[in-house]
Symmetry: C2
Subunit: 171 residues, 2 copies
């Protein structure tokens, strides 16, 4: 099954994390490949990496939009490495129940990852694993081939009322 969490609201990543925990709770194997997030900033990383049957790969620590001093070429290289990892998982004998591709929608939107190549890899992968792709602006072709698409829609957001980015909530 291909699952997409998109939209401008909160909950795209946390829903994927909750789904990982749900799967691990039943003893399934899970893999998380994430882009633009760094390896130790987020609270969930500290818990997940301690759990059995969980593999974690992180590429391109920051998005150029958030860190202006980052070279776009370096980000692209990192995204190419993430696709290499994904292709290796697709052809490997190891069978994950769930593979989460964090912020890949953003990498597709910004053309750091080639859309047709991505679609072709996950079309093969869906035969053996459920796949969750997160991030705003999910591409139309991905939505077309997905089984389950949820838009996290912002109804009210605290930044608009001056409440700040909080440890334990945003990261």
């Amino acid at each position: 099954m291909i699952i997409v969490n998109t939209g401008n609201g909160k909950g795209k990543t946390t829903a994927a994390i909750g789904q990982i925990i749900r799967c691990l709770g039943h003893g399934f194997s899970v893999c998380l490949i994430q882009l633009f997030k760094g390896e130790s900033f987020y609270g969930e990383q500290k818990i997940l990496t301690r759990l059995d049957n969980f593999n974690f790969f992180s590429f391109a620590n920051q998005h150029p939009y958030c860190a202006k001093n980052i070279s776009i070429d370096e980000v692209k290289k990192q995204c190419v490495l993430s696709m290499e990892k994904l292709r290796n998982i697709a052809i490997s004998k190891k069978k994950y129940k769930l593979i989460v591709l964090e912020e890949f929608n953003i990498a597709l939107r910004d053309k750091f990852i080639n859309e047709n190549e991505f679609l072709s890899v996950i079309r093969n992968l869906r035969e053996k694993s459920d796949i969750i792709v997160t991030g705003r602006n999910a591409p139309k072709k991905l939505i077309n081939i997905a089984d389950l698409v949820t838009e996290m829609k912002e109804i009210k957001h605290p930044y608009n009322n001056g409440i700040k980015f909080q440890k334990g909530i945003e990261y």
Copy 2:
């Protein structure tokens, strides 16, 4: 902060679970009070209950809509007990960073919990904890006092294509 995850789409519960994991990862204390879910069916329960700084309370194992043989009086009694628990947490010296109230929107919608009483308790509680309330059909008054509201909106759902309820995905 009061956070509401509502809407007809997937991800309301899993986003709350992800948020719990994020908080626990930073060493914060978290409490989950859940309705209508039972104590050991969901994968996440098996992981969460093993983690430090996490307290779990479950009331009203099933919703009468899903289990026709359940007495509505018994469900109401259980919901009253869940509110008693919540009031005790509100007046206790113990300070949780995050309190998740799973499916309380449903109990409010179905009048198993009195709306004004609920709002008054969480208004006090927000001074010391962040609170996430999940479930479809969040009441308007709750949305009015909330800081962060996300609608999980179904764009595409696999049941519509004949894909079945799956272990590790739905539970």
